[in-house]
């Protein structure tokens, strides 16, 4: 994720270059979607969040600080949007008594392979703080330092949350028949 390349693309976007916008989308759409999907466990919510992330990014492009990495900024927005979406879905569940975000329909269920399903089910049992570090480390392949930049927390907190989260995941996978 080259920040100088991102920076050049952003500058072109700010001059109205739609080709640069397409390049940024091609670079970040899939990772943002995957992060959102693992945070929410639901493809429709992940699509909505991905769309909201990019709209927000380009609406506030003038607020982007070139001193920071673009990918940190976009992931931070993605994580925040995912948490907001999760909370909205939770509230709606309480009001409507319908499915919680993360519940899958038959189509989504068939699309996920066995490993993916087990992991996703275990992930959804974690608290958001734990889930987000696992998602960023293992699905977005970020280092401790990068996670710390995205979440604005010290590296030591990243490590502490990640270690605990993986222990919890292990316990739940074992309880669910996989370890």
């Amino acid at each position: 994720m080259g920040n100088s390349r991102d920076q050049a693309l952003i500058e072109r976007c700010q001059r109205g270059d739609r080709r640069a916008l397409e390049e940024l989308l091609e670079t970040y759409q899939r990772p943002v979607y995957n992060a959102a999907f693992r945070m929410l466990g639901n493809p429709e919510d992940a699509s909505d969040v991905t769309q909201a992330v990019f709209l927000k990014v380009f609406e506030h492009l003038d607020r982007y600080d070139p001193g920071h990495k673009f990918f940190s900024w976009i992931y931070r927005i993605a994580i925040n949007e995912s948490i907001n979406q999760f909370k909205r879905a939770k509230r709606e569940t309480k009001l409507d008594d319908t499915e919680l975000s993360g519940a899958r329909g038959p189509v989504e269920e068939a699309e996920l392979d066995a490993d993916s399903r087990r992991v996703q089910d275990a992930l959804m049992t974690l608290q958001e703080d734990y889930r987000m570090v696992v998602v960023l480390r293992h699905f977005s392949e970020m280092s401790y330092r990068e996670i710390s930049e995205v979440l604005h927390i010290p590296e030591i907190t990243v490590k502490s949350r990640l270690y605990t989260a993986r222990q919890l995941l292990k316990d739940r996978l074992v309880a669910g028949g996989e370890g």
Partner: protein, 251 residues
């Protein structure tokens, strides 16, 4: 009960975030402690399961949905006859002579936005005396089902004019790549009755997207002879992301 330092070491080993001296400590730890080995095995099992999980593909239409909703700032356009950037060259006459324009044209200088009164700066050009030393350099004839016409390169020592006289019955995108030619974009002129409303540019790349009759001229300036490496200007045409044509104009 494992010490926190031991857990930290094992976790960092699994994450590949360990220094060389720490690796030796980690290996010694595994050799000595059954509890450490058991913790390491459990953690490795979870992490390898996470790594086996494939990435999911976003819906095929998601990118298009997002693109359709994002409004970028309009490309910067500075409508001016100012000769400052051309260092006194008779720009309007040069364009008219080289491109043979008799109709009203608008000149968009590619530069910073100013408080210029745009409306007052679009006028009618009469054919001028011509620009001394302007000669035809090369051209590309495009003859495809989707688009046809000619792209003509002419110019003098320090000024080049790239004239598009093309037509298409559907939206097509023209791209001009200057990389290695030693040229930079200086301006964009179009005939008023053949409006090209959608263009964007960067230092060495210009994109124009439109359909129907399109007659416009791209004004190019020499940056330096030393910067030239390829000696050519690449013109490409695409439709909905699919490449239709590519040609090189020699200088």
């Amino acid at each position: 009960m494992l010490h926190e330092h031991t857990k930290d070491l094992i976790n960092r080993a699994v994450d590949g975030e360990m220094s060389e001296p720490e690796k030796a400590e980690f290996n010694a730890l595994l050799a000595d402690s059954q509890e450490a080995r058991s913790y390491n095995d459990g953690l490795t099992g979870v992490v390898s399961l996470l790594e086996r999980v494939p990435l999911v593909e976003p819906p095929a239409n998601l990118q298009r949905r997002i693109l359709n909703q994002i409004q970028l700032p309009r490309p910067q356009r500075w409508f001016t006859w100012s000769a400052a950037w051309m260092q006194g060259k008779p720009v309007s006459h040069g364009i008219a002579a080289a491109a043979g324009l008799m109709a009203a044209v608008a000149i968009y200088e590619l530069g910073p936005v100013t408080d210029t009164d745009y409306a007052a700066l679009v006028g009618t050009l009469a054919r001028g005396e011509g620009l001394n030393g302007v000669v035809q350099l090369s051209y590309l004839d495009i003859d495809l089902p989707a688009v046809h016409g000619r792209v003509l390169l002419s110019g003098s020592d320090d000024l080049k004019l790239l004239r598009f006289d093309v037509a298409s019955d559907a939206q097509v995108e023209f791209e001009v790549l200057l990389g290695g030619s030693g040229l930079t974009f200086g301006g964009f002129a179009q005939e008023a009755e053949a409006g090209t409303d959608n263009f964007s540019y960067s230092e060495d790349n210009l994109s124009v997207s439109n359909f129907g009759a399109q007659r416009f001229t791209v004004i190019l300036r020499d940056v330096s002879a030393e910067a030239a490496t390829s000696g050519g200007i690449v013109v490409s045409v695409s439709q909905e992301g699919e490449a239709l044509y590519q040609g090189v104009l020699s200088l």
